[in-house]
C-alpha cells in the first residue's frame, strides 16, 4: 500500500465516529463576524493612510494631475535614482528628471544593483493597511518588489477595499499574490523592531484620489 493510501485509510478509521452520510455542510460554520470593520462614517482612504503609516511606511496623497510631481518628490527624498520598471507601467506617470528607468526583464543580479522599484498595485485593504500585488500590468514579477531596497507603490483610491473579506473576493487566487503591510521588518533581537532584513527597507505609498483633498 502506498503512503497515500495508508494515510487516507488511517484518516478514515480515525474518523469512525463521523457518520458515513455526514457532509462538510453538516458541520455548521457560524458566520456572525463582520464583513468589514470600518464604521459607516469612516473614510476608506483615510483609514488606509493612517494604518499604512502605523507600519512606518509613508503615504502621500495626490490627484492624477499631481502624480508625476509627487513621484519625483518621493524619489528625491529617498535618493533613489536607478529604478526597475515593470512591464505595463504607464509611462506618462513617470516624471522627467535625473532618473534611470530599467525596464523588465531584469535578472536577479541586475535587480540587486538598483536603488529601488516603482509599481502599481492590485488591491489595497483599509482596515489592515495592506497593499496587494498580483503581478498584473505595472506590478512586475514578485522579485521586482523584493530584491531592491526601496519600493514606491502607486495605488488609486477605488482600488482600496474596506477589509479582508472584501479584498480576498476581489483577488484571483490563481495568480501569485503578495500582501505587503509596511516594509520588511524583524523583532527577533530583544523584540526591537528593525526595518528591512531581506525585503525593501523603505516603502512609499502614493495614493491617488480623484481630487486633491
Amino acid at each position: 500500500m502506498s503512503s497515500r493510501e495508508a494515510i487516507l485509510a488511517r484518516i478514515r478509521s480515525a474518523l469512525a465516529d463521523v457518520p458515513a452520510d455526514e457532509t462538510p455542510e453538516d458541520v455548521p460554520v457560524p458566520r456572525a463576524y463582520r464583513r468589514s470593520h470600518l464604521a459607516p462614517a469612516e473614510d476608506r482612504t483615510a483609514v488606509f493612510s493612517e494604518r499604512v503609516a502605523d507600519y512606518r511606511a509613508t503615504v502621500t496623497r495626490t490627484d492624477p494631475a499631481g502624480l508625476p510631481a509627487t513621484i519625483a518628490a518621493r524619489l528625491t527624498a529617498r535618493g533613489a535614482e536607478r529604478l526597475a520598471l515593470p512591464a505595463g507601467f504607464p509611462l506618462e506617470l513617470l516624471p522627467a528628471g535625473p532618473w534611470e528607468w530599467h525596464p523588465e526583464p531584469l535578472d536577479t543580479a541586475a535587480l540587486d544593483g538598483l536603488d529601488g522599484t516603482i509599481t502599481l498595485a492590485a488591491v489595497g485593504i483599509a482596515v489592515t493597511g495592506t497593499i496587494v500585488l498580483d503581478t498584473g500590468p505595472g506590478q512586475g514579477r514578485r522579485a521586482l518588489t523584493l530584491v531592491p531596497d526601496y519600493h514606491l507603490c502607486v495605488i488609486r483610491s477605488e482600488q482600496i477595499a474596506e477589509d479582508l473579506p472584501d479584498a480576498l473576493a476581489r483577488l484571483d487566487p490563481a495568480r501569485p499574490l503578495t500582501f505587503v503591510s509596511g516594509p520588511s521588518a524583524t523583532s527577533d533581537i530583544e523584540l526591537d523592531r528593525v526595518e528591512g532584513v531581506h525585503g525593501p527597507r523603505t516603502l512609499d505609498v502614493v495614493l491617488v484620489t480623484p481630487e486633491q483633498p
Binding site: 458541520v27 523584493l146 532584513v197
Partner: protein, 481 residues
C-alpha cells in the same frame, strides 16, 4: 530523535529541565519582557475587532469541518495543486518525509538549500537528515539563523531566539558567520540594526545563488490549491521566488476547505501572533507560474502522528492549531521556564498537548503536567482549542498507562468533566483562586497537594492570581468599551 522526530533525543524530562531554567535569572528576565510585550500588543489589536469572539467561533468551526472530512479535502488539494503544475507527495512519518525531500534535492544536483522557518521540518529533523546526505540547509529567518549558528534549539514558536540577548547574538555572529558563508563585518556592535544588517548581507549571497528552497506552509486551500505563507522579514518571499525548485513540507492538518476561508484566518493569525493588524508579508501561490518564481513545486503532505491524534476524540481539536504562539505568551509556566524545558519542537501549552499526542504519551509523560490549568491559553487561542481540557485528558491517559486506575486517574477524569462544562470550569477556577490564596505564603506555594504533588516537588508554584483570568479578562474588556 525517535522515529517521529518532535522530541529532542536526550532532552531531560520537563521537571528536570524546568528546574534548570528556573535557576537562570537572565533567561527568566528575557522571557518575562518578551511575553509581556507581545501579550499586550495582542490584546490591543484583538480588542480593535469587536467581533473577535465571532471570528474565533468561525475559525474553530471551519477547523472542525476540515478535520471531520480531512480525507476529502486532502484529495481535493492534491487534485488542484497537480492541476496548477505542482507535484504532491505523501509522507507517513518523519523518515519518509526526509527521504522524499532528500531525493528531490538530489535530483536537482544541488548540495545547498535555503529554508524558511518551518515547524514541520524542525519536527522531522530535516536539516540533520540532509546534512547526513551531504546537503547543507541554510535557515534564513533571522531568529532561526541565530539558532542555527549557535547550534542551539528554538525556544519559542514566533521568536525562536527569544532566550538570547543582543550581546550573545553579536558574539555568535562574530564567531560563527564565517563558517557558514559571508563573515560578520569587523567591529560589529550589538545594536539590533547592525545585527540585522549583518544577517542581511550574510544571507543575501545565499538567496541570490540558491537553486532549491524548502518551506513550510501556514495554510493550503483545497479548492484552488493555493499555498499561503505568512512572514515578516521577506526571507520567505526570497525562498518562494528566486530558486528554481520549491519544496513545501506541510502537516496534513493545514488544509482549509476554500480560498475564501482565509478571510477568517488572516484576520486572526497576525493579531494573535505578533500583535499586528497584518504581518509585513503574506505570499500566496498556486502551483507554478510561467516566468515568475520556481519552475518546479513539490508539496509534501506529512502525517507523522497526526492521524493518531485525529483518532482521539478529545485530542483531535489540537490539530486546529495555527501556530500563532499566543498560548505561550499567556502561560505562567512557559513564562518562567522558556521553551527548551519542553524538550520538543513544540513548546508551551500547545506543546504540552501536541507533543505527547504526536509521539505517544509514553514519550512525553511529564508534559501534560507542565501546566497550572489556569485556562489563560484557552482564552487566548484564536481557534478555541480547549487546552486545559485536553491536558487533563492526557494526564489521565499517562496516569492510567503508568499504573492503571489510581486515585489520580479518577481525579483527573473528574477534572475532565469539570472542564467540559464552562460553568463548572469557571466555578472551579474561582475555587482554585481562593484555595491558592489560603495556601500561599508570600505569593508562593510550596508543595501542592493531590495530583499536582509530582509537579510541585521540584519547585515553588506561583500562587494562582487572586482573580481568575476569565474574570480579569471580562472586566478589562468591559473597561475598554
Amino acid at each position: 530523535m525517535n522515529g517521529r522526530g518532535v522530541v529532542w533525543l536526550g532532552a531531560p524530562s520537563f521537571p528536570v529541565a524546568a528546574k534548570q531554567a528556573l535557576a537562570d535569572p537572565q533567561l527568566r528576565a528575557n522571557l518575562k519582557r518578551a511575553t509581556t510585550t507581545i501579550r499586550d500588543k495582542r490584546l490591543a489589536v484583538a480588542a480593535e475587532l469587536d467581533d473577535w469572539e465571532a471570528l474565533r467561533d468561525a475559525a474553530a468551526a471551519i477547523k472542525k469541518r476540515t478535520a471531520r472530512h480531512l480525507d476529502r479535502y486532502l484529495l481535493q488539494l492534491e487534485e488542484s495543486v497537480t492541476a496548477a503544475g505542482g507535484t504532491v507527495h505523501w509522507a507517513a512519518d518523519a523518515g519518509e518525509a526526509n527521504r522524499i525531500v532528500t531525493e528531490l534535492v538530489r535530483a536537482t544536483g544541488e548540495t545547498e538549500v535555503v529554508k524558511i522557518k518551518s515547524m514541520a521540518t524542525q519536527e522531522i529533523g530535516l536539516n540533520e537528515h540532509l546534512a547526513v546526505h551531504g546537503i547543507t540547509a541554510y535557515e534564513t529567518d533571522l531568529a532561526e539563523l541565530i539558532v542555527q549558528l549557535g547550534d542551539d534549539r528554538p525556544s519559542h514558536i514566533l521568536v525562536p531566539a527569544i532566550h538570547k540577548n543582543r550581546t550573545e547574538i553579536r558574539d555568535l555572529f562574530a564567531a560563527e558567520m564565517a563558517h557558514w558563508g559571508r563573515p560578520a563585518p569587523e567591529g560589529l556592535t550589538d545594536a539590533p540594526r547592525e545585527l540585522a544588517e549583518a544577517a542581511r548581507r550574510h544571507l543575501r549571497e545565499k538567496f541570490l545563488t540558491a537553486k532549491v528552497a524548502v518551506s513550510g506552509a501556514n495554510f493550503a486551500c483545497a479548492d484552488t490549491g493555493t499555498v499561503v505563507i505568512v512572514e515578516s522579514e521577506g526571507n520567505g518571499r526570497m525562498c518562494l521566488t528566486l530558486p528554481e525548485t520549491l519544496i513545501t513540507v506541510m502537516g496534513i492538518e493545514k488544509v482549509l476547505p476554500s480560498w475564501s476561508e482565509l478571510e477568517v484566518f488572516l484576520q486572526l493569525l497576525p493579531r494573535s501572533s505578533t500583535g499586528e493588524r497584518m504581518n509585513p508579508y503574506t505570499s500566496t501561490f498556486t502551483g507554478t507560474t510561467e516566468g515568475d518564481g520556481p519552475s518546479a513545486f513539490h508539496l509534501v503532505l506529512l502525517d507523522n502522528g497526526r492521524t493518531d491524534t485525529l483518532a482521539d476524540r478529545v485530542g483531535r481539536q489540537v490539530l486546529a492549531c495555527i501556530r500563532c504562539s499566543a498560548c505561550l505568551n499567556v502561560c505562567p509556566v512557559y513564562e518562567r521556564t522558556g521553551g527548551h524545558a519542553y524538550g520538543s519542537v513544540y513548546p508551551g501549552p500547545i506543546g504540552a498537548v501536541l507533543t505527547p499526542q504526536l509521539v505517544g504519551p509514553e514519550h512525553a509523560a511529564s508534559l501534560p503536567f507542565a501546566s497550572t490549568l489556569c485556562g489563560a491559553c484557552y482564552e487566548a487561542c484564536p481557534v478555541k482549542i480547549d487546552i486545559p481540557r485536553v491536558l487533563t485528558h492526557l494526564r489521565a491517559e499517562v496516569v492510567e498507562a503508568q499504573g492503571g486506575r489510581t486515585a489520580e486517574a479518577l481525579a483527573l477524569k473528574a477534572a475532565g468533566k469539570v472542564l467540559d462544562s464552562p460553568h463548572l470550569f469557571a466555578a472551579a477556577q474561582k475555587a482554585a483562586a481562593l484555595g491558592g490564596k489560603a495556601l500561599a505564603r508570600k505569593g508562593r506555594i510550596g508543595r501542592l497537594p493531590g495530583p499536582a504533588a509530582g509537579w510541585s516537588d521540584t519547585r515553588d508554584t506561583p500562587a494562582p492570581p487572586a482573580e481568575s483570568f476569565r474574570s480579569w479578562w471580562r472586566k478589562n474588556k468591559e473597561d475598554d468599551r
